[in-house]
Amino acid sequence: MPRVIVGPADFDPGTALATLEADAGAIASFIGIVRGTADNRPLAALTLEHYPGMTEQALARIADTAMTRWRLLDCLIIHRTGRLEPGARIVLAAAASAHRGDAIEAMTFLIDWLKTDAPFWKHETFRDGTARWVAPRETDQHARDRWIEP
């Protein structure tokens, strides 16, 4: 059963991954962390806005798609919301399979799709007091689109 967790609470990667381990053989995971700078400017915080209700649905749809397309035993998405300081964990995407190729591909799909297909918006506050909304990146769209089936 794929699982999706959205909210302000931090998570422990070890505990989260342990929920996937039973007889899996292969667990691939990705953790996103708030960096200390953006465009070489020191960052004070990253704030994640989201669309409650739609977010959970969108992530569940992405996880279900992964379960259908790869031979997975389980997958897990955790995405934090609210104000996060540099060094804080933002997101975890993980997939468990008997086959390492499936686990790694599915995990890559999960992180590529949740960047473009789940209603989150990143807002950067810099240490110099300025702030901006993060612009969508074309490279993220390309990373997403490579998973579209012909």
Binding site: G32, L48, E49, H50, Y51, G53, M54, Q57, H79, I90, V91, I111, L114, K115, T116, D117, A118, P119, F120, W121, K122, H123, W133, V134, A135, P136, R137, D140
Partner: protein, 83 residues
């Protein structure tokens, strides 16, 4: 009908949520967007670049030509930047 604004749309318009009755003749998302853009200078500025704005009807992505039907909730937002 509940209207939701996210990210810089919310900031530019000045509130996150509004309840409106679509005026007569407004039957699609695009028509409602026209109407909302006419409400104030802030709305007009927020909606200036329509191609940068996405919409979801009852939490499902929907293009501008989508009929409003009996939907309860219409959300306006820029492209997603999560992860």
């Amino acid at each position: 009908m509940k209207i939701l604004y996210f990210a810089w749309l919310r900031e530019r318009i000045g509130h996150a949520e509004a309840t409106i009755d679509p005026p007569a003749g407004v039957t699609t998302i695009a028509e409602l967007t026209e109407y909302l853009a006419s409400l104030s200078p802030a709305h007009q500025r927020a909606f200036a670049n329509r191609s940068a704005i996405k919409t979801a009807l009852d939490q499902v992505f929907a293009p501008p030509e989508t009929p409003l039907g009996d939907a309860q909730e219409l959300a306006y937002f820029p492209p997603f930047t999560g992860g």
